[in-house]
Amino acid sequence: MSISPFRPPITPLIVKENYLAMLGKGVRPDNRDLKTPRLIEIKTGVVEKAEGSALVKLGDTQVMAGVKIDVGAPFKDTPDQGVLMVHAEFVPLASPLFEPGPPDENAIELARIVDRSLREVNAVDLGSLVIRKGEKVWTLWVDIYVLDHNGNLYDASMLASMAALLDARLPDFEELETGEIVVKRGVRGEPLKITTKVVTVTIAKIGRYLIVDPNLEEESIADVKLVVAVDEKGRIVGMQKSGAGGLTHAEIEAALDLAREASTVYFKALEEAIAGRRG
């Protein structure tokens, strides 16, 4: 059951009014214009025991993602494809608003947005993950770990997941005579076959203004958010309206233009992070 948030962060009205005045002049209190994301820092290979990992800082927001790879059985309806699973944990150390417990609707929504954005374009070529058709395939677990929530967990999590997948290598394995597959952990094999990178760009609506990559304060006064997934060709590969508000048709169109423009900033950050890491 989904319940209206009963402990929303309370932001004084004067802050919102200040924002509206500034946004009208095309600037934000943190000196950004309306269409520029915060500073991005991406570090890959941050967890040696994971097959792939990354730590992303998007402004003051920090998200880690780890990829673990196991041998498993394919789904019945896709015997010729590997398996991709995305989960997100809003770790209680990341925000005074997070509490221990199983993933809530926000964590589930986030993981499913990242999952769909990757899946719909076959970003990781699942067909390349078959060991024995119909029997043994690689299962990729992407686990998103939110470490410091300072707004826009979507884009930070998507960047972290993408960077971790780009960093990941299949483990070496041995096939026994019994047909059993023995995974040799620690021996890094081939990189994953990535067909395209995908990023999400989150646009928040405050009053009649649309802003890219909202920080926590901006999220707390935003009427609604639109998460737009974009691939390297600039195609829209997913979308989700999130938050208790609405958008007009014209606002949605304007948000898509902003998203496509900002996506190039995220792609550049990903490029730089993995330069030299993939052979």
């Binding site: 829209i236 989700q240 609405g246």
Partner: protein, 247 residues
């Protein structure tokens, strides 16, 4: 996601018709009914073809189990749930991750519509049960919720309705069914309140070009206007049947 199409399944015929004979912009036969339950303060049933969703609204009321209420507005609680027998293979009745996400997305489609500020410190419960699933269940659920809220007399800014547009064999089609959803390239569920020009639910699963998206959203909004008109007719005739004077 790439799911192989079964042999012989033609999604778009050479004449441009769909696998069930509809034109690309044609809705399935839609049925709506309000006041279907005695206990609920408001209730409704909505059918889009074989998709059937029922909705019940309780409230504004004091919650049975105490939990923190909002001092300035009513709390909305939404549960989207699929009956175990609603699908081809039995669906485990425990709430899935999909149902948890859709409950949130539907709640957020209704929050901007319901005048929650009229009823601080109360809860409005909206229970949605998918009785049969054949594509477009979340959007049919929004339509059912809109009707049930109106039937319960909950004040709203406008009525809201939903429909899913898909891309099937490269053709944009409105109100996709399960087959088109499964083997199509994209699915765009939309809910909107046409009378106030607000889109309140928007998801895209799949790939669309910028131009395709704009056309798909237009198609969805056109279809939603028809659906909301149907909602109004249903509510009016329900009112007349109950002994009210003709409007």
């Amino acid at each position: 996601m790439v799911v192989k199409k079964p042999e012989g399944l033609v999604l778009i015929t050479p004449e441009g018709l769909r696998h069930d004979g509809r034109r690309p912009d044609e809705l399935r036969p839609i049925k709506m009914e309000v006041g279907i339950f005695k206990n609920a303060d408001g209730s409704a049933m909505v059918e889009y073809g074989k998709t059937r969703v029922i909705a019940a609204v309780y409230g504004p009321r004091e919650p049975i189990q105490k939990f923190p209420l909002l001092p300035d507005k009513a709390t909305l609680r939404v549960r989207y749930h699929m009956a175990p027998f609603s699908t081809e293979e039995r669906k485990n009745p425990a709430p899935s991750r999909r149902e948890i996400e859709l409950s949130k997305v539907i709640r957020e489609a209704l929050e901007p519509i319901v005048l929650t500020e009229e009823y601080p410190r109360t809860v409005i419960d909206i229970f949605l049960e998918v009785i049969q699933a054949d594509g477009g269940t979340r959007t049919a659920a929004v339509t059912a919720a809109s009707l049930a809220l109106a039937d319960a007399g909950v004040p709203m800014r406008a009525l809201v309705g939903g429909v899913a547009v898909g891309k099937v064999d490269g053709v944009l089609v409105v109100d996709i069914d399960e087959t088109e959803d499964m083997y199509g390239e994209a699915d765009l569920p939309v809910a909107a309140a046409p009378d106030i020009g607000l889109v309140t639910l928007l998801q895209l699963n799949g790939v669309m070009t910028r131009e395709e998206f704009s056309r798909a959203l237009d198609m969805a909004l056109t279809a939603i206007s028809k659906i909301v008109e149907m909602e109004k007719r249903t509510l009016r005739s329900g009112y007349v049947e109950a002994g009210g004077s003709e409007l």
